[in-house]
Symmetry: C2
Subunit: 430 residues, 2 copies
């Protein structure tokens, strides 16, 4: 992990480059997978599962009683941890439920907006190296709070009991299909897997490519979620051991994770990197972390002002403020997914249990996207109701604008109404 001296603003783009992602071959293969699922449904899912995951389950759906009974194989400590995390996540996401709004914009013209659950949602829970049961909580809790009437989830075959137990805590149908083919199945529907209106959840490069390709065809998705990122801003009050631990916690995610340390204190940078080398050796996933650290960066900044400027430019998924005045600094953060204030808030708290959501935009998408909130599982519909006196007052504006846009039919929809003194009880009798 190289240590860089102060940067000039002109260097930001070049230095803060993210590790490259995706390749044309994979994009093409994902396109083919989507077409196969569209054309052949379950048959394609079984063939692709065998080919890519080495297993083709007889039954795509995990039977509900398997989910219910999975808890028997899960220890009480883990159940307690899940319950604490779920309670915090529920509390924070409940508070996010949006309020409907109703406004009389002018006399006789009522406008309102109502937030409704998206009816059918699909959750993707990655398998791979470990059962990501936290992702079940992070997606199923807000989906349930939003009131989605049909929640389904896909996860690769061979899910361990912990994961099945987590699913079993919710009213969810679970299908054992992974990868790009799972995303295609939820977006398009197959004989076994119902089509959904929006797809959520993280995944590897194949999953993300499938989400993005299907988004281009109109599928609603939560966000482009790629490799993990962490930026730590540390001043001289920071603990090198804590900084090192936070950097490693993201580096262990995958070789394409990126961790960046910004500090105005060279001793903090040096001691943090020293602590990092020591802590690294004790990690089971040290080989992964070591590869991620190859494109990690430690940057000596002029002052906290420049640290904020660089963080705004980079727009990290996770931002740790290991500084004295974390509260006032946090108020000035503009581009980030989730922010961790002070010395006792490890980034991993947000991954699991503080209550915030861990599904966050990456790759600079924090500039225009948000992490998952309860509102991500909802859509809004607007309503307007105009009384006759309201239309008399508003009509000329509508007609004026419609005619400026050369849309006479739009004007006529008003004029037809104004031309008749309607008996509003029975306008059909006019």
């Amino acid at each position: 992990m190289p240590v860089l001296p102060e940067l000039a603003a002109g260097d930001y783009d070049r230095i803060l480059r993210r590790p490259g992602a995706g390749d044309e071959g994979m994009e093409q293969r994902v396109r083919t997978i989507i077409r196969e699922v569209a054309d052949e449904g379950d048959v394609a899912l079984r063939r692709l599962s065998l080919e890519l995951d080495g297993v083709a389950p007889d039954q795509l759906e995990v039977p509900p009683d398997v989910l219910r009974k999975a808890g028997e194989a899960v220890g009480n400590d883990l159940k307690g941890a899940i319950s604490t995390a779920a309670s915090n996540i529920r509390r924070f996401h409940e508070a996010q439920l949006p309020d409907d709004v109703s406004v009389e914009t002018m006399p006789g013209v009522k406008c309102s907006i109502r937030y409704l659950a998206i009816e059918r949602v699909g959750l993707y829970i990655p398998g791979g190296s470990a059962p990501l049961l936290s992702t079940v909580l992070m997606t199923a809790i807000p989906a349930t709070l939003a009131g989605c009437s049909q929640i389904i989830a896909c996860t690769p075959p061979g899910a361990p009991p912990e994961l099945l137990h987590a699913f079993g805590l919710f009213n969810i149908r679970v299908f054992q299909v992974g990868g790009a083919q799972a995303i295609a199945a939820m977006a398009l529907g197959t004989e076994s897997i119902p089509r959904v209106d929006k797809v959520f959840g993280p995944g590897n490069a194949w999953v993300t490519a499938a989400k993005m390709q299907l988004a281009a065809r109109g599928l609603a998705i939560d966000m482009p979620a790629g490799p993990s990122e962490l930026m730590v801003i540390a001043d001289s009050s920071a603990s090198p051991a804590f900084v090192a631990a936070d950097l490693l916690s993201q580096a262990e995610h995958g070789p394409d994770s990126q961790v960046i340390l910004l500090s105005d204190s060279m001793p903090v940078i040096e001691k943090s990197l020293e602590a990092l080398r020591t802590q690294l050796e004790a990690l089971p996933r040290r080989d992964t972390a070591r590869r991620a650290l190859e494109h990690g960066l430690a940057i000596r900044v002029r002052d906290m002002e420049q640290a904020l400027e660089i963080s705004r430019h980079y727009g990290p998924e996770h931002l740790v403020l290991a500084v004295r005045e974390a509260g006032s600094m946090a108020e000035r953060v503009t581009n980030a997914g989730s922010v961790f204030l002070g010395h006792h808030t490890p980034e991993s708290a947000g991954d699991y249990a503080s209550g915030t959501n861990h599904t966050l935009p990456t790759g600079g998408a924090t500039r225009g996207w948000s992490g998952i909130t309860t509102a991500s599982f909802m859509k809004s519909i607007t309503f307007q109701e105009i009384a006759r006196e309201g239309l008399i007052a508003l009509g000329p504006a509508i007609v004026g604008l419609a005619r400026a846009e050369q849309l006479e039919g739009h004007a006529q929809a008003v004029l037809q109404r104004l031309a008749k003194t309607v008996n509003t009880d029975k306008p059909g009798k006019q």
Copy 2:
């Protein structure tokens, strides 16, 4: 416009088919345009403008004083109409500003969510047959209310004074570039046109294809907005003249617009279609409307229950409830962009001046997407701050979940902190 008898639920998909869209040739051409803009910037914009719009403006940006002075050529009636519409739109969109939320999820664990403006946004305002000055209001007003610090707009060369005047009402930089190349310029940035974080606004098939292709590369967009749609649910209280006028107001948008009438009253259907034939002849855009009506539908429904079921299945952009009990029916609407209640609420009121936004999802996307709201110009960031006693309480849950996911580094970020009785004033001195 064919009249269909009652449908069986199994027929919905087949009957409620939308007019086909897009073709592979266009998609490929848009891909090339995006690549050219990425590679050559302004040079490509000028060449494409000349090739596709027949003009290559010397200067891509419309000078601010041209915007300021454009009002001189605009009549006072139109200025008054703009001002009424803007005031209603502002009032309704101001009420939508989301509230920040702060929750102590457990003692010593504070989580909050803050809504911030997306800094750089790009508005696309179509040119073509008429100056869509209403779209300026519908995008620039919420962008301004949200607090976006950099708002730019693109519109094809040759914008008339009315449109320039509308731009001049806001703090916006305007560029005279249209089509797919304008979307590419805003998404990628060129020498003249700054790159933005999210792109908004309707457009033709080329513009939409560019938005969707760039969305697949991570660009945030408002929604997939395609050809206009209107569904009218009319009971025996409906006025055939009003129903006909509403159907025509959407049919005149373009040959690919779709209008659908649902009624449980055969007389209402017959009289509405009769009124439609008469009103059609008086419309300047009757040829366009006639082509749209070729794929219009009038469906006799069993009852209002079935009408709601069909409307939910179709998920129209605009839904007019020309019924006696519009209020209680509206409460049961699930998939729609914007809903118009009662006999005196023409759909065109929402297009221009009631206060609701007219940029809405189409093509069935209402199931998973929302129309533009003030929040569309904002993103959320979550924050958490954990006190030492909070971490002592929450730590075991984080460690338990991290170890269940085989991510020891995540556990260590907690354990490193718990291992030290930190002097929180100066943890760096540990």
